[in-house]
Symmetry: D2
Subunit: 406 residues, 4 copies
């Protein structure tokens, strides 16, 4: 509720204009290009054209935080100031990439900013910031509960001047995308270390390295999220030089901890945009459609659904903004309570809001004629992304009990 900074408000106005002029009018064209694509994971010409336009207007890398100001033209934005921008991008699911603000690249770029050597930054961070290449973060494994990072099983061994990786990952967002060049891979280098948080290491693995096998794209509720997508990947004796380690051997867990907070909140911000747009669509539908001789807008049940959705979106937005504020002022570690509260509340709330808004659209509401069905999948998927909600509720519940009963 505090005002956004002048810079944020200026960017909001600019971004809003860009959405009106270039994004909404291109939604159908984008869908058509993707639909017609021979390879659903190849870059789309329309995306590249839009990226050029956005970059030219300075609507680029808006996610870059203040403490890494040097990596952006705008000088960095606090989480609080970035929230309304991310919300706007959430109104069209593919639009964040236009502004170089899409997951998982934003999180990966932050990892490079924080933990990479100058040489690693030169090779990977710069082209990522330029939007020339894309990246993946390979953490989740099919055979273990990966939300507990200490369960990770992909094996990293050191042989001479090389790291050798063996294992399987899935839900590796971006890995299918043709433009993706680099994977940050989390694995176990020291499984017998008595300190369970020192067993893990993160290694940079160029996508083209021999032994990296893209098994298949995964779908959630029928969506493949192309062209970015989610892949299952096999690592068979994948060898990279020792200098490809990130931060240092045994420090993989530490990187993972540092990465996840903002990512979860970015999802929440975008989901609020998705819910808000669904609500607006539902309002338009309600005033343009009649059943049984009355406009939908006059049915009491419709008004109650709209009122509930409005109120819930307001609450979700405020929760996220408060979380941002706390992250800005006290840092991520001190904000894990609010991050967990947002992560476990917003996706489910948004799923329910969109469900109502779809229902108001009749059978058409479930189709690709509106963005709601795919946004519903996004919300549903976020209840699993970065760990199932239940895992975060476990930690949050424990912390709150200690706070009041300690």
């Amino acid at each position: 509720m505090q005002e956004f900074s002048f810079k944020s408000r200026q960017l909001q106005a600019q971004l809003s204009g860009f959405m009106d002029e270039h994004i909404y009018p291109n939604e159908q064209a984008y869908a058509s290009q993707l639909h017609a694509a021979q390879n659903r994971f190849a870059p789309l010409p329309l995306m590249d054209a839009l990226k050029t336009k956005a970059k030219a207007q300075g609507l680029w890398n808006l996610f870059v935080p203040e403490n890494h100001a040097q990596y952006s033209q705008h000088g960095g934005l606090s989480n609080y100031d970035y929230a309304p921008l991310a919300e706007m991008m959430g109104r069209v699911l593919w639009s964040p990439e236009v502004f170089n603000c899409n997951a998982p690249d934003t999180g990966n770029m932050e990892v490079f900013m924080k933990y990479a050597t100058p040489a690693q930054q030169e090779q990977w961070l710069i082209p990522l910031l330029e939007g020339e290449i894309r990246s993946s973060y390979a953490m989740t494994e099919p055979q273990v509960a990966s939300s507990d990072a200490t369960n990770i099983e992909l094996r990293i061994t050191r042989e001479g001047e090389e790291w050798v990786l063996n294992g399987r990952k899935w839900f590796i967002t971006g890995a299918m995308y043709e433009r993706t060049r680099i994977f940050i891979v989390m694995g176990k280098s020291d499984p017998d270390n008595p300190d369970r948080h020192r067993q893990q290491t993160q290694i940079l693995v160029p996508k083209e390295t021999p032994g990296v096998k893209l098994i298949r794209p995964l779908t959630t509720l029928g969506y493949d999220d192309a062209p970015i997508g989610h892949a299952e990947i096999q690592f068979d004796n994948v060898r990279v030089p020792l200098e490809n380690v990130l931060l240092g051997e045994g420090r993989g867990f530490e990187i993972a901890q540092g990465r996840l907070g903002p990512g979860r909140i970015h999802h929440c911000m975008r989901l609020i945009g998705a819910a808000q747009r669904s609500l607006e669509l539902a309002c338009r539908r309600a005033s343009s459609r009649s059943t049984f001789g009355r406009p939908l807008s006059k049915h009491q049940s419709v008004r109650e659904d709209i009122a509930k959705s409005f109120s819930e979106i307001e609450m979700a937005r405020l929760l996220v903004l408060k979380t941002c504020k706390k992250m800005d002022e006290e840092g991520v570690p001190a904000s894990v309570d609010m991050i967990a509260a947002s992560k476990t509340t917003v996706p489910l709330l948004v799923q329910n809001v969109i469900d109502r808004c779809m229902q108001l659209h009749g059978a058409g509401g479930l189709t690709e004629d509106y963005f709601m069905a795919e946004a519903f999948n996004y919300a549903r998927w976020c209840r699993q992304a970065d760990g199932p909600d239940q895992v975060h509720q476990m930690a949050l519940g424990k912390k709150i009990i200690e706070r009041y009963a300690g």
Copy 2:
């Protein structure tokens, strides 16, 4: 809770055996064939092989009701006796077709049994009963609230010895399927008739008739339900001979009323099977997966979710069985209260059960590795199919208020 008839129990045992031997073991093969298909709406070789097997065992046309016993070898089944069989088929979404029991053909065959001339039956019903051709029922229109059948706008005019049809339909299940040959089309032949329920007529339109244009397959939550699918169709000056009328001019509304009751309940029966299977998968997952050092099955929240899901499925099943019983004993018109109660309760309840079971599976629960995600879509879609739940609640609420306040 009444026992099922001996015939039903015998068929249940046989069907259960068939599922174990031929359906579950082929789920992956079916998915692969469909995935690899050049045309997703062409018949799959595996389906045809399975149909042959099922037919040979007499597991065929199980939906045929007692009052049309002549159309089946088994002599007809009551709704009550059919319910557990349909539930079993609901455990694999594509399996009803194996037994010639899939929507919308079952409903269409009943229409032919009840309302068609012998010549029409000869031409269309017999090959449908044999599983040689498929059919569609073209009712819903994109531009009007079609749940109120009097809103239908497709124009039917009589010109000489022909009916001429002009209009647009969508969500026409089965229309994309290559094997589909015949459409039952609902339209308005007498829009000025003061009796709003005499304005409609149903016409048989062979799919190949000039002027019939398949616009596109529709998706719901990302699923195209291939090969049966849902189509958008344009009718441009489509001409068929006068004898293609069903039952008679002005009697379309009457047919529509007669068709819908059992169809809704068949969906509910199958959905219960889908929920039951999801529950069983969740139980297996819970006992085979550990997080934070305990098997999922020992987490109290998991047990509560399982207990809730079990109880809800029991209640949904009982509601549907009671509805069947009433339909069997008092007929469809007297049972609209229970049909509406089932139609507006079961899909949402099943959606929630499956949502929980998916969540227990981690990210994988949303993928095609389990049948849950597509079953979730089936449940969600049924909240719109045959009219949005709200329309049925409107009628049911009105009726109950009159019952107790009349």
Copy 3:
């Protein structure tokens, strides 16, 4: 859905007539007598008059099961046949006592039928069956989680020819009632027995025994459930002769197990009656009240609420009936899954139905002008009575997981 027996249907007709003639017309009088009472836990003259009438008509001890037929004139009723009768009584919260069918006396009488000596039966069971005295079952303790019966701490020691009891109980239904004469007290007689289910004994303690101290009546959501009520009781060196043991030393747990199944289901039956009556009140309200120029009955949200409530009550009733059927055919131990499903589903469902119906009545819906507010409390309270729902879900979830994953 199976038909009720001829006997049950006959009793239903008779009971329904009695409710119409004697119970509903006396609701206000009963409330006034209770309100005006000097001692809220004294017997009410109106109750006694009604009991006499009911007994004269044979509407008496309807709960008596078939295997104890000798204790009733009607020859015993199965759980299934009793269900619709108990549902009717649930429509007026104080009415079960009129028919000698109120908790906790029904459960206690069953305990006496099953486990008491002829002398004990003579002394306590006969006057209970006659409705001359009332009884309590003292199990729950304030300081331990009593839903796990092995936690019980009230100490029973044998001194010479006497049992000596020391401890505290609460939520002892009926104990405040002036007419109550006998307590069945569960305590620990052998706390060191390695078999945790042999540590408990149940002792018959006349209410007037020295050392029995009624501490206070307890309220739930502001209701004291007078005149039956729920008491907190202190037992200070309470001494009774050895023959007051029930069944035998160390067999208290066994009795507790045997008692609880039917009791839980009787609550569910009555709750369904309470929900059904609330629905009927809501229907009448909806058709008699207008807001903003339309009768409530024409508001779509009202119709949806009525439709939902109707459907949910149907499902709850069917779940309970199926549970009864199973208990009748397979016995209580084999039916614990269905008993737990009912116990953890019906009270919450009924609470929600009544909440909706109250809301439809405006502010008045929360007052004593309707029976809904107190019925709401009854439903809410049943989520704790006989153990919190969560404990039963724990057991049920475990059992279902084993069933499908075993």
Copy 4:
């Protein structure tokens, strides 16, 4: 999320200290005095003692807004600054009166500040501000849907130098209280005025005026809210002089509109305090109680309940704070959207939070041993107070639809 003013923070610290020192330690004493009272609607000695203490510390009339600064020592507080203070008072249901901040007097005092003549203020406002007398606002009527103020039927006629009132009111908070001296009565003075918002007038009626008959105290869910309570009142030819009109004839609707906004929000603020305290109690219970060999705090379902409750309370608090901010900056009329969002969201949310927290306490959670049961009633009742939620959702839904579809 904006910081509270220095003044507010200072008062928060002071009030928090007062609660710790004087309120919490007196909860049992207060309950005992009320329980023992011959007349439940007489002032309690303990209350008077606490009021004296609070006044001496300047913790008095904290609700007085900035634009009426002259009526308080603290110089007035914005809604935003008052919110955390009201939340604290919500932690003990009877505590607002200690600080002269209880409903309905706060709303009535604001009415006197805004609309009364100097003489009326002298007579009624001053002693109200001193806490010497109490007041009621008589609006709701039993026979009409009073949430639509134009339905009000109490008849006001002018006869000579007097107003004559005839009609019936109910849910008149405070009217039973012995200390209450003055009623503000809304009625119809000009029922035929074509402008439906000019038909109403508000009249000051001293409680002792002949013809004013207190019919009975009303309960909600079994609670009488004594000593403040809610009354049903009959007005039979009640005569007061013409100067007792408030603001002017025909301006009753205008006053009603002006009064209700802050009142609804004050309820929301206090409810958040009630929920927060329930959460804290639940945390303490979870860490002090064990079932089945584990502390409740280690059960995953308990942690999920705590996490959900924490998150929901955060959201509710933020929604209310944003509403306050908007009221402060843009005034009540421009804030009706946010007021409606809060009014229709917070009470239900708080009801659910408290329901969970009660359940965690076992059977005891429903008793008077904790403040939760009565707080549950407060939340439930607020879904009806100032109009049923549905009426506010009707208006809010309409407004939002216009906003996005206009």
